[in-house]
Protein backbone atom coordinates (compact mmCIF):
# COMPACT_ATOMS: atom_id res chain seq x y z
CA UNK A 1 0.00 0.00 0.00
CA UNK A 2 1.17 3.52 -0.80
CA UNK A 3 -0.53 5.92 1.59
CA UNK A 4 -0.29 9.68 1.68
CA UNK A 5 -2.05 10.79 4.83
CA UNK A 6 -2.94 14.51 5.23
CA UNK A 7 0.32 15.61 3.66
CA UNK A 8 1.30 19.27 3.53
CA UNK A 9 4.22 20.13 1.28
CA UNK A 10 5.86 22.94 -0.64
CA UNK A 11 9.04 24.88 -1.01
CA UNK A 12 8.53 27.56 1.63
CA UNK A 13 7.39 26.56 5.10
CA UNK A 14 4.99 29.46 5.41
CA UNK A 15 3.40 29.04 2.03
CA UNK A 16 3.01 25.33 1.24
CA UNK A 17 1.84 24.39 -2.24
CA UNK A 18 -0.98 22.34 -0.71
CA UNK A 19 -2.22 21.31 2.74
CA UNK A 20 -3.63 18.05 3.99
CA UNK A 21 -3.68 15.96 0.80
CA UNK A 22 -4.55 12.28 1.15
CA UNK A 23 -4.36 9.51 -1.42
CA UNK A 24 -4.01 5.72 -1.29
CA UNK A 25 -2.85 3.26 -3.92
CA UNK A 26 -3.37 -0.45 -3.23
CA UNK A 27 -0.70 -2.99 -4.21
CA UNK A 28 -0.90 -3.67 -7.93
CA UNK A 29 -3.46 -0.91 -8.41
CA UNK A 30 -3.13 1.90 -10.94
CA UNK A 31 -4.48 5.29 -9.91
CA UNK A 32 -4.65 8.37 -12.11
CA UNK A 33 -4.42 11.72 -10.35
CA UNK A 34 -6.06 14.38 -12.43
CA UNK A 35 -5.62 18.08 -11.89
CA UNK A 36 -4.95 21.37 -13.66
CA UNK A 37 -1.38 22.55 -14.11
CA UNK A 38 0.07 24.42 -11.16
CA UNK A 39 -2.32 22.80 -8.66
CA UNK A 40 0.42 21.05 -6.70
CA UNK A 41 -0.06 17.52 -8.00
CA UNK A 42 3.55 17.38 -9.20
CA UNK A 43 4.77 18.26 -5.72
CA UNK A 44 2.59 15.46 -4.37
CA UNK A 45 4.16 13.13 -6.94
CA UNK A 46 7.61 14.09 -5.65
CA UNK A 47 6.55 13.32 -2.09
CA UNK A 48 5.12 9.96 -3.17
CA UNK A 49 8.38 9.26 -5.03
CA UNK A 50 10.24 9.94 -1.75
CA UNK A 51 12.09 12.81 -3.35
CA UNK A 52 10.54 15.65 -1.37
CA UNK A 53 10.10 15.79 2.36
CA UNK A 54 6.58 16.77 3.40
CA UNK A 55 6.17 19.59 5.96
CA UNK A 56 3.45 17.65 7.75
CA UNK A 57 1.51 14.43 7.39
CA UNK A 58 2.60 10.83 6.92
CA UNK A 59 3.79 8.76 4.01
CA UNK A 60 3.38 5.02 4.59
CA UNK A 61 4.98 2.64 2.14
CA UNK A 62 3.99 -1.04 2.37
CA UNK A 63 3.10 -0.63 6.03
CA UNK A 64 6.23 1.26 7.05
CA UNK A 65 6.01 4.95 7.78
CA UNK A 66 8.77 6.80 6.00
CA UNK A 67 10.95 8.53 8.59
CA UNK A 68 14.49 9.83 8.70
CA UNK A 69 13.82 12.19 5.82
CA UNK A 70 16.57 14.56 4.97
CA UNK A 71 15.56 16.48 1.89
CA UNK A 72 14.71 13.08 0.41
CA UNK A 73 13.87 9.78 2.06
CA UNK A 74 16.69 7.31 2.87
CA UNK A 75 18.02 5.55 -0.22
CA UNK A 76 17.05 2.02 0.90
CA UNK A 77 13.42 3.08 0.82
CA UNK A 78 13.69 5.02 -2.39
CA UNK A 79 14.69 1.92 -4.35
CA UNK A 80 11.14 0.63 -3.91
CA UNK A 81 9.80 3.50 -6.03
CA UNK A 82 10.57 4.32 -9.66
CA UNK A 83 9.72 7.76 -11.03
CA UNK A 84 9.37 9.31 -14.49
CA UNK A 85 8.93 13.05 -15.01
CA UNK A 86 7.45 15.15 -17.79
CA UNK A 87 10.67 16.63 -19.12
CA UNK A 88 13.27 14.03 -20.09
CA UNK A 89 15.75 16.76 -21.02
CA UNK A 90 15.95 18.08 -17.48
CA UNK A 91 15.71 14.63 -15.90
CA UNK A 92 18.70 13.06 -17.68
CA UNK A 93 22.38 13.92 -17.32
CA UNK A 94 23.40 15.25 -20.76
CA UNK A 95 26.94 13.83 -20.41
CA UNK A 96 25.83 10.21 -20.09
CA UNK A 97 24.92 7.76 -22.83
CA UNK A 98 21.41 6.31 -22.77
CA UNK A 99 22.85 3.00 -21.50
CA UNK A 100 24.57 4.86 -18.63
CA UNK A 101 21.36 6.75 -17.85
CA UNK A 102 19.43 3.48 -17.62
CA UNK A 103 22.13 1.94 -15.40
CA UNK A 104 22.47 4.97 -13.09
CA UNK A 105 20.44 3.50 -10.19
CA UNK A 106 22.63 0.38 -10.20
CA UNK A 107 25.81 2.43 -10.08
CA UNK A 108 24.39 4.56 -7.30
CA UNK A 109 23.63 1.45 -5.24
CA UNK A 110 27.03 -0.18 -5.89
CA UNK A 111 25.68 -2.84 -8.25
CA UNK A 112 27.59 -1.73 -11.32
CA UNK A 113 28.36 -5.35 -12.28
CA UNK A 114 24.72 -5.98 -13.13
CA UNK A 115 24.47 -2.94 -15.40
CA UNK A 116 25.09 -4.54 -18.79
CA UNK A 117 22.65 -7.38 -18.38
CA UNK A 118 19.94 -5.17 -16.89
CA UNK A 119 20.27 -2.60 -19.70
CA UNK A 120 20.10 -5.40 -22.27
CA UNK A 121 16.83 -6.57 -20.68
CA UNK A 122 15.22 -3.17 -20.32
CA UNK A 123 16.09 -1.57 -23.66
CA UNK A 124 13.81 -3.80 -25.76
CA UNK A 125 11.08 -3.55 -23.11
CA UNK A 126 10.88 0.22 -23.67
CA UNK A 127 11.48 -0.05 -27.43
CA UNK A 128 15.09 1.21 -27.56
CA UNK A 129 17.40 -0.33 -30.14
CA UNK A 130 21.07 -1.10 -29.47
CA UNK A 131 22.40 1.71 -31.68
CA UNK A 132 20.57 4.29 -29.55
CA UNK A 133 22.10 3.11 -26.29
CA UNK A 134 25.54 4.51 -27.08
CA UNK A 135 24.16 7.98 -27.85
CA UNK A 136 23.88 10.95 -25.55
CA UNK A 137 20.65 12.89 -24.94
CA UNK A 138 21.31 15.59 -27.57
CA UNK A 139 21.60 12.87 -30.22
CA UNK A 140 18.13 11.40 -29.65
CA UNK A 141 14.55 12.67 -29.80
CA UNK A 142 12.43 13.58 -26.76
CA UNK A 143 10.49 10.35 -27.18
CA UNK A 144 13.64 8.23 -27.29
CA UNK A 145 15.07 9.96 -24.24
CA UNK A 146 11.82 9.49 -22.34
CA UNK A 147 11.97 5.77 -23.17
CA UNK A 148 15.41 5.71 -21.51
CA UNK A 149 14.05 7.58 -18.48
CA UNK A 150 11.27 5.01 -18.14
CA UNK A 151 13.82 2.19 -18.35
CA UNK A 152 15.88 3.91 -15.63
CA UNK A 153 12.79 4.01 -13.40
CA UNK A 154 12.42 0.24 -13.85
CA UNK A 155 16.10 -0.64 -13.35
CA UNK A 156 15.81 -1.58 -9.68
CA UNK A 157 12.49 -3.41 -10.23
CA UNK A 158 10.47 -1.06 -8.02
CA UNK A 159 7.20 -2.14 -6.41
CA UNK A 160 5.77 1.32 -7.09
CA UNK A 161 5.89 3.57 -10.13
CA UNK A 162 5.16 7.29 -10.13
CA UNK A 163 4.64 8.82 -13.58
CA UNK A 164 4.30 12.61 -13.46
CA UNK A 165 2.94 13.82 -16.83
CA UNK A 166 5.18 11.21 -18.43
CA UNK A 167 3.71 11.63 -21.90
CA UNK A 168 2.65 15.30 -21.93
CA UNK A 169 5.34 16.21 -24.47
CA UNK A 170 4.95 13.14 -26.66
CA UNK A 171 3.01 12.21 -29.78
CA UNK A 172 0.14 9.72 -29.69
CA UNK A 173 2.10 6.67 -30.80
CA UNK A 174 5.01 7.20 -28.39
CA UNK A 175 2.47 7.83 -25.60
CA UNK A 176 0.71 4.54 -26.32
CA UNK A 177 4.08 2.74 -26.51
CA UNK A 178 5.29 4.06 -23.14
CA UNK A 179 2.00 3.30 -21.43
CA UNK A 180 2.13 -0.22 -22.89
CA UNK A 181 5.68 -0.65 -21.53
CA UNK A 182 4.55 0.44 -18.05
CA UNK A 183 1.58 -1.92 -18.16
CA UNK A 184 3.70 -4.87 -19.32
CA UNK A 185 6.08 -4.24 -16.43
CA UNK A 186 3.18 -4.06 -13.98
CA UNK A 187 1.60 -7.23 -15.33
CA UNK A 188 4.92 -9.04 -14.82
CA UNK A 189 5.76 -7.66 -11.37
CA UNK A 190 2.47 -6.61 -9.80
CA UNK A 191 3.81 -3.11 -9.20
CA UNK A 192 1.39 -0.33 -8.25
CA UNK A 193 1.16 2.91 -10.24
CA UNK A 194 0.37 6.53 -9.51
CA UNK A 195 0.02 8.38 -12.84
CA UNK A 196 -0.28 12.15 -12.44
CA UNK A 197 -1.59 14.16 -15.35
CA UNK A 198 -4.07 16.60 -16.82
CA UNK A 199 -5.45 14.49 -19.65
CA UNK A 200 -8.66 12.88 -18.48
CA UNK A 201 -9.12 10.73 -21.56
CA UNK A 202 -5.62 9.30 -21.19
CA UNK A 203 -5.82 8.62 -17.44
CA UNK A 204 -9.28 7.04 -17.71
CA UNK A 205 -8.05 4.70 -20.40
CA UNK A 206 -4.80 3.90 -18.60
CA UNK A 207 -5.70 3.52 -14.93
CA UNK A 208 -8.01 1.38 -12.77
CA UNK A 209 -9.46 4.53 -11.28
CA UNK A 210 -8.95 8.27 -11.63
CA UNK A 211 -9.16 10.69 -8.73
CA UNK A 212 -9.53 14.43 -8.94
CA UNK A 213 -6.92 16.55 -7.20
CA UNK A 214 -9.59 18.54 -5.38
CA UNK A 215 -10.98 15.33 -3.90
CA UNK A 216 -7.57 14.59 -2.34
CA UNK A 217 -7.78 17.80 -0.32
CA UNK A 218 -9.82 18.41 2.82
CA UNK A 219 -13.14 20.22 2.36
CA UNK A 220 -12.72 23.98 1.82
CA UNK A 221 -13.89 25.22 5.24
CA UNK A 222 -11.21 23.34 7.17
CA UNK A 223 -8.30 24.29 4.94
Amino acid sequence: MLELDTVTAGYERRAPVFRGASLTVAPGESVGLLGPSGCGKSTLARVAALLHRPDAGRLVLDGTEVRAWRHRAPRELRTAVGVVFQQPRTAADPRLTLAEIIAEPLRATGRRAEADSRVAELAPAVGLTADLLTRRPHEVSDGQLQRACLARALTLSPRWLICDEMTAMLDASTTAALVAAVETYRAETGAGLLAVGHDRVLLNRWCDRTVEWKDCLPPKETR
Partner: protein, 339 residues
Protein backbone atom coordinates in the same frame (compact mmCIF):
# COMPACT_ATOMS: atom_id res chain seq x y z
CA UNK B 1 -14.71 7.01 -58.11
CA UNK B 2 -11.14 5.99 -58.71
CA UNK B 3 -8.53 8.43 -57.43
CA UNK B 4 -6.16 7.46 -60.25
CA UNK B 5 -8.77 8.37 -62.90
CA UNK B 6 -7.25 11.10 -65.15
CA UNK B 7 -10.32 13.33 -64.99
CA UNK B 8 -10.29 13.16 -61.22
CA UNK B 9 -6.59 13.95 -61.17
CA UNK B 10 -7.14 16.90 -63.48
CA UNK B 11 -9.91 18.18 -61.27
CA UNK B 12 -7.67 17.81 -58.23
CA UNK B 13 -4.85 19.62 -60.01
CA UNK B 14 -7.23 22.46 -60.85
CA UNK B 15 -8.32 22.75 -57.23
CA UNK B 16 -4.67 22.81 -56.20
CA UNK B 17 -3.85 25.52 -58.73
CA UNK B 18 -6.78 27.62 -57.56
CA UNK B 19 -5.70 27.20 -53.96
CA UNK B 20 -2.16 28.29 -54.85
CA UNK B 21 -3.49 31.41 -56.53
CA UNK B 22 -5.24 32.87 -53.53
CA UNK B 23 -2.95 31.30 -50.98
CA UNK B 24 -1.49 33.36 -48.18
CA UNK B 25 1.41 30.93 -48.23
CA UNK B 26 2.34 28.58 -51.02
CA UNK B 27 5.15 26.09 -50.40
CA UNK B 28 6.74 23.94 -53.11
CA UNK B 29 9.60 21.45 -53.01
CA UNK B 30 10.77 22.69 -49.62
CA UNK B 31 13.84 20.70 -48.70
CA UNK B 32 16.18 21.22 -45.76
CA UNK B 33 19.47 19.39 -45.26
CA UNK B 34 21.80 19.79 -42.31
CA UNK B 35 25.44 19.19 -43.15
CA UNK B 36 27.28 17.39 -40.40
CA UNK B 37 30.99 16.83 -39.87
CA UNK B 38 32.41 13.87 -41.75
CA UNK B 39 30.29 14.57 -44.85
CA UNK B 40 27.10 13.15 -43.34
CA UNK B 41 23.84 14.96 -43.79
CA UNK B 42 20.45 14.98 -42.13
CA UNK B 43 17.41 15.06 -44.42
CA UNK B 44 15.21 17.09 -42.06
CA UNK B 45 12.57 18.10 -44.64
CA UNK B 46 12.14 16.68 -48.15
CA UNK B 47 9.97 18.06 -51.00
CA UNK B 48 7.28 19.54 -48.75
CA UNK B 49 4.44 21.21 -50.65
CA UNK B 50 1.21 22.81 -49.46
CA UNK B 51 -0.95 25.89 -49.82
CA UNK B 52 -2.60 27.81 -47.05
CA UNK B 53 -5.50 30.11 -47.85
CA UNK B 54 -6.89 33.13 -46.05
CA UNK B 55 -9.40 32.07 -43.42
CA UNK B 56 -7.96 28.57 -43.37
CA UNK B 57 -6.15 26.53 -40.73
CA UNK B 58 -3.73 23.86 -41.87
CA UNK B 59 -2.48 21.59 -39.10
CA UNK B 60 0.92 20.04 -39.69
CA UNK B 61 1.05 17.00 -37.44
CA UNK B 62 3.67 14.37 -36.67
CA UNK B 63 5.88 13.13 -33.89
CA UNK B 64 8.81 15.06 -32.45
CA UNK B 65 11.77 14.97 -34.80
CA UNK B 66 9.64 14.43 -37.92
CA UNK B 67 10.75 17.75 -39.38
CA UNK B 68 7.69 19.89 -38.72
CA UNK B 69 9.47 22.40 -36.49
CA UNK B 70 12.41 22.57 -38.90
CA UNK B 71 9.92 23.40 -41.63
CA UNK B 72 8.55 26.26 -39.53
CA UNK B 73 12.04 27.55 -38.80
CA UNK B 74 12.86 27.42 -42.52
CA UNK B 75 9.83 29.61 -43.30
CA UNK B 76 11.07 32.17 -40.79
CA UNK B 77 14.73 32.07 -41.79
CA UNK B 78 15.67 30.80 -38.35
CA UNK B 79 17.70 27.74 -39.28
CA UNK B 80 21.27 27.29 -38.03
CA UNK B 81 24.23 27.98 -40.31
CA UNK B 82 24.79 24.39 -41.41
CA UNK B 83 21.33 24.15 -42.98
CA UNK B 84 20.87 24.10 -46.74
CA UNK B 85 17.41 25.00 -47.96
CA UNK B 86 15.88 24.70 -51.41
CA UNK B 87 12.42 25.13 -52.93
CA UNK B 88 10.06 28.07 -52.67
CA UNK B 89 7.73 29.42 -50.01
CA UNK B 90 5.75 32.33 -51.41
CA UNK B 91 4.21 34.65 -48.88
CA UNK B 92 1.41 36.75 -50.35
CA UNK B 93 2.47 40.36 -50.94
CA UNK B 94 0.87 43.29 -49.20
CA UNK B 95 -1.38 45.80 -50.94
CA UNK B 96 -0.88 44.57 -54.48
CA UNK B 97 2.86 43.97 -54.12
CA UNK B 98 4.20 40.67 -55.44
CA UNK B 99 4.80 37.71 -53.17
CA UNK B 100 7.99 37.26 -51.17
CA UNK B 101 9.89 33.98 -51.37
CA UNK B 102 10.71 33.35 -47.74
CA UNK B 103 13.42 30.88 -48.66
CA UNK B 104 15.23 33.39 -50.90
CA UNK B 105 14.74 36.53 -48.78
CA UNK B 106 17.76 37.92 -46.95
CA UNK B 107 17.93 38.16 -43.17
CA UNK B 108 17.34 41.92 -43.21
CA UNK B 109 14.06 41.54 -45.08
CA UNK B 110 12.95 38.69 -42.85
CA UNK B 111 13.80 40.56 -39.66
CA UNK B 112 12.33 43.89 -40.75
CA UNK B 113 9.27 42.93 -42.72
CA UNK B 114 8.42 39.29 -42.18
CA UNK B 115 8.85 37.94 -38.65
CA UNK B 116 6.23 39.47 -36.38
CA UNK B 117 4.88 41.69 -39.17
CA UNK B 118 3.68 39.71 -42.13
CA UNK B 119 3.96 36.45 -40.20
CA UNK B 120 2.65 36.50 -36.63
CA UNK B 121 4.30 34.01 -34.33
CA UNK B 122 2.36 32.25 -31.60
CA UNK B 123 5.10 30.75 -29.48
CA UNK B 124 5.43 27.30 -27.97
CA UNK B 125 6.11 28.55 -24.49
CA UNK B 126 4.65 31.96 -23.79
CA UNK B 127 6.92 32.28 -20.77
CA UNK B 128 9.94 32.30 -23.05
CA UNK B 129 8.39 34.88 -25.33
CA UNK B 130 7.45 37.43 -22.71
CA UNK B 131 10.07 39.59 -21.05
CA UNK B 132 9.93 38.79 -17.33
CA UNK B 133 10.87 42.24 -16.04
CA UNK B 134 8.25 44.22 -17.94
CA UNK B 135 4.50 44.42 -17.62
CA UNK B 136 2.29 43.07 -20.36
CA UNK B 137 1.20 46.62 -21.18
CA UNK B 138 4.73 47.85 -21.66
CA UNK B 139 5.58 44.88 -23.89
CA UNK B 140 2.51 45.42 -26.02
CA UNK B 141 3.22 49.14 -26.36
CA UNK B 142 6.83 48.46 -27.25
CA UNK B 143 5.76 46.00 -29.94
CA UNK B 144 3.17 48.45 -31.27
CA UNK B 145 5.94 51.05 -31.53
CA UNK B 146 8.39 48.72 -33.20
CA UNK B 147 5.98 47.15 -35.67
CA UNK B 148 3.50 49.84 -36.60
CA UNK B 149 5.21 53.15 -35.90
CA UNK B 150 2.08 54.29 -34.07
CA UNK B 151 2.67 57.75 -32.51
CA UNK B 152 3.26 57.74 -28.76
CA UNK B 153 -0.15 59.04 -27.69
CA UNK B 154 -2.01 56.38 -29.68
CA UNK B 155 0.09 53.50 -28.41
CA UNK B 156 -1.79 52.94 -25.20
CA UNK B 157 -5.03 52.51 -27.09
CA UNK B 158 -3.41 50.29 -29.74
CA UNK B 159 -1.95 48.04 -27.04
CA UNK B 160 -5.32 47.79 -25.30
CA UNK B 161 -6.98 46.94 -28.61
CA UNK B 162 -4.42 44.19 -29.22
CA UNK B 163 -5.06 42.77 -25.76
CA UNK B 164 -8.79 42.80 -26.41
CA UNK B 165 -8.38 40.99 -29.74
CA UNK B 166 -6.60 38.18 -27.91
CA UNK B 167 -9.20 38.23 -25.09
CA UNK B 168 -6.55 39.34 -22.61
CA UNK B 169 -8.36 41.12 -19.74
CA UNK B 170 -7.59 44.85 -19.53
CA UNK B 171 -7.42 44.59 -15.73
CA UNK B 172 -4.31 42.41 -16.00
CA UNK B 173 -2.33 44.63 -18.36
CA UNK B 174 -0.17 46.06 -15.59
CA UNK B 175 0.93 42.66 -14.36
CA UNK B 176 4.26 40.97 -14.91
CA UNK B 177 4.41 37.65 -16.77
CA UNK B 178 5.06 35.62 -13.61
CA UNK B 179 1.84 36.98 -12.13
CA UNK B 180 -0.21 35.43 -14.94
CA UNK B 181 -1.73 31.98 -15.20
CA UNK B 182 -0.59 29.78 -18.09
CA UNK B 183 -3.71 30.63 -20.04
CA UNK B 184 -3.32 34.37 -19.65
CA UNK B 185 0.38 34.18 -20.53
CA UNK B 186 -0.60 32.36 -23.72
CA UNK B 187 -3.13 35.10 -24.50
CA UNK B 188 -0.57 37.81 -23.85
CA UNK B 189 1.80 36.09 -26.27
CA UNK B 190 -1.00 35.78 -28.82
CA UNK B 191 -1.81 39.48 -28.40
CA UNK B 192 1.83 40.24 -29.25
CA UNK B 193 1.59 37.97 -32.29
CA UNK B 194 -1.49 39.83 -33.55
CA UNK B 195 -0.12 43.37 -33.30
CA UNK B 196 1.47 43.41 -36.73
CA UNK B 197 -1.92 42.39 -38.14
CA UNK B 198 -0.18 39.63 -40.07
CA UNK B 199 -2.25 37.71 -42.60
CA UNK B 200 -0.32 34.56 -41.78
CA UNK B 201 -0.09 33.16 -38.27
CA UNK B 202 2.38 30.47 -37.44
CA UNK B 203 1.83 28.57 -34.20
CA UNK B 204 4.48 26.04 -33.22
CA UNK B 205 3.14 23.64 -30.57
CA UNK B 206 1.08 26.41 -28.89
CA UNK B 207 -0.63 23.97 -26.54
CA UNK B 208 2.25 21.87 -25.19
CA UNK B 209 1.87 21.24 -21.48
CA UNK B 210 -1.47 23.03 -21.21
CA UNK B 211 -4.50 21.41 -19.59
CA UNK B 212 -7.15 20.14 -21.94
CA UNK B 213 -9.55 22.98 -21.10
CA UNK B 214 -6.81 25.50 -21.71
CA UNK B 215 -5.89 23.74 -24.96
CA UNK B 216 -9.49 24.05 -26.09
CA UNK B 217 -9.66 27.70 -25.16
CA UNK B 218 -6.33 28.49 -26.82
CA UNK B 219 -7.21 26.80 -30.08
CA UNK B 220 -10.71 28.27 -30.11
CA UNK B 221 -9.15 31.70 -29.85
CA UNK B 222 -6.76 30.91 -32.67
CA UNK B 223 -9.74 29.76 -34.71
CA UNK B 224 -11.38 33.12 -34.16
CA UNK B 225 -8.38 34.84 -35.72
CA UNK B 226 -8.60 32.45 -38.67
CA UNK B 227 -12.27 33.28 -39.12
CA UNK B 228 -11.30 36.94 -39.33
CA UNK B 229 -9.46 36.06 -42.54
CA UNK B 230 -5.98 35.07 -41.44
CA UNK B 231 -4.25 31.91 -42.52
CA UNK B 232 -2.97 29.72 -39.69
CA UNK B 233 -0.25 27.12 -39.94
CA UNK B 234 -0.60 25.09 -36.76
CA UNK B 235 2.32 22.84 -36.00
CA UNK B 236 1.41 20.31 -33.36
CA UNK B 237 1.71 16.78 -32.08
CA UNK B 238 -1.66 17.19 -30.36
CA UNK B 239 -4.18 15.50 -32.63
CA UNK B 240 -7.11 16.52 -30.44
CA UNK B 241 -6.15 20.18 -30.84
CA UNK B 242 -5.80 19.71 -34.60
CA UNK B 243 -9.18 17.98 -34.79
CA UNK B 244 -10.76 20.91 -33.00
CA UNK B 245 -9.67 23.72 -35.31
CA UNK B 246 -8.05 22.54 -38.53
CA UNK B 247 -9.67 22.73 -41.96
CA UNK B 248 -7.00 20.52 -43.45
CA UNK B 249 -4.38 18.23 -41.97
CA UNK B 250 -0.92 17.50 -43.34
CA UNK B 251 0.87 14.53 -41.79
CA UNK B 252 4.63 14.52 -41.72
CA UNK B 253 6.77 11.42 -41.34
CA UNK B 254 10.56 11.29 -41.54
CA UNK B 255 10.74 14.72 -43.16
CA UNK B 256 8.05 14.20 -45.80
CA UNK B 257 4.40 15.18 -45.94
CA UNK B 258 2.82 11.75 -46.46
CA UNK B 259 -0.82 12.79 -46.53
CA UNK B 260 -2.84 15.97 -46.85
CA UNK B 261 -6.56 15.65 -46.23
CA UNK B 262 -9.62 17.66 -45.23
CA UNK B 263 -9.90 17.51 -41.45
CA UNK B 264 -13.49 16.25 -41.45
CA UNK B 265 -12.49 13.21 -43.52
CA UNK B 266 -9.23 12.66 -41.66
CA UNK B 267 -10.83 12.65 -38.21
CA UNK B 268 -14.23 11.41 -39.35
CA UNK B 269 -15.43 7.87 -40.02
CA UNK B 270 -13.65 7.68 -43.40
CA UNK B 271 -10.29 8.26 -41.75
CA UNK B 272 -6.90 8.92 -43.29
CA UNK B 273 -5.55 6.84 -46.18
CA UNK B 274 -1.86 6.65 -45.34
CA UNK B 275 -1.00 3.71 -43.05
CA UNK B 276 1.16 5.93 -40.81
CA UNK B 277 -1.65 8.45 -40.37
CA UNK B 278 -4.05 5.61 -39.53
CA UNK B 279 -1.58 4.25 -36.99
CA UNK B 280 -1.19 7.65 -35.39
CA UNK B 281 -4.95 8.03 -34.93
CA UNK B 282 -5.31 4.45 -33.65
CA UNK B 283 -2.75 5.24 -30.94
CA UNK B 284 -5.07 7.82 -29.35
CA UNK B 285 -6.39 6.87 -25.89
CA UNK B 286 -9.98 7.35 -27.05
CA UNK B 287 -9.37 4.99 -29.98
CA UNK B 288 -7.46 1.68 -29.97
CA UNK B 289 -4.57 3.06 -27.84
CA UNK B 290 -2.15 0.77 -29.68
CA UNK B 291 1.26 2.16 -30.60
CA UNK B 292 2.76 1.88 -34.06
CA UNK B 293 5.48 -0.76 -33.67
CA UNK B 294 9.09 0.39 -33.86
CA UNK B 295 10.46 3.89 -34.13
CA UNK B 296 10.93 6.40 -36.95
CA UNK B 297 14.12 6.05 -39.00
CA UNK B 298 17.17 8.23 -38.52
CA UNK B 299 16.97 11.30 -40.75
CA UNK B 300 20.68 10.82 -41.45
CA UNK B 301 20.15 7.28 -42.76
CA UNK B 302 16.82 7.22 -44.60
CA UNK B 303 16.03 4.20 -46.75
CA UNK B 304 15.75 4.54 -50.53
CA UNK B 305 12.10 3.64 -50.60
CA UNK B 306 9.19 4.48 -48.31
CA UNK B 307 10.57 5.51 -44.92
CA UNK B 308 7.60 3.93 -43.15
CA UNK B 309 8.09 0.47 -44.69
CA UNK B 310 9.83 -1.17 -41.68
CA UNK B 311 6.80 -0.34 -39.51
CA UNK B 312 4.06 -0.70 -42.09
CA UNK B 313 1.57 -3.58 -42.02
CA UNK B 314 0.85 -3.13 -45.74
CA UNK B 315 4.43 -2.96 -47.06
CA UNK B 316 5.26 -4.95 -50.19
CA UNK B 317 8.30 -5.16 -52.50
CA UNK B 318 6.95 -2.12 -54.31
CA UNK B 319 7.60 -0.04 -51.20
CA UNK B 320 11.36 -0.30 -51.77
CA UNK B 321 10.83 2.53 -54.27
CA UNK B 322 9.68 5.86 -52.92
CA UNK B 323 5.97 6.56 -53.36
CA UNK B 324 5.25 9.93 -55.00
CA UNK B 325 2.32 11.93 -53.65
CA UNK B 326 -0.85 11.18 -55.53
CA UNK B 327 -4.21 12.76 -54.75
CA UNK B 328 -2.84 13.89 -51.39
CA UNK B 329 -1.29 10.56 -50.32
CA UNK B 330 2.29 9.33 -50.75
CA UNK B 331 1.80 5.56 -50.50
CA UNK B 332 1.82 2.60 -52.87
CA UNK B 333 -1.10 0.97 -51.09
CA UNK B 334 -3.24 3.70 -49.61
CA UNK B 335 -6.17 2.40 -47.65
CA UNK B 336 -9.63 3.01 -48.94
CA UNK B 337 -11.83 5.20 -46.83
CA UNK B 338 -13.42 3.15 -44.07
CA UNK B 339 -16.90 4.48 -44.64
Amino acid sequence: MNAADPTVLRALAAVTAERAEDAVLSVRDLTVRFRLRGGRSVAAVSDAAFDLGAGECLALVGESGCGKSVLASALLGLLPGNAETSGTALLEGEAGAGPTDLLAADEKTLARTVRGRRVGLVPQSPAGHLTPVRTVRSQLEETVRALTGTPRRARRKAAEDAAERAAFPAGHLDRYPHELSGGLAQRAATALALIGDARLLLADEPTTGLDRELVDRTVDELRRHVDEGRGLLLITHDLAAAARIADRVAVMYAGRIVETAPAHRFFGPAGPRHPYARGLLDALPDRAFTPIPGMPPELSALPEGCAFAPRCPLATDLCATRPEPHAGVACHHPEHPRA
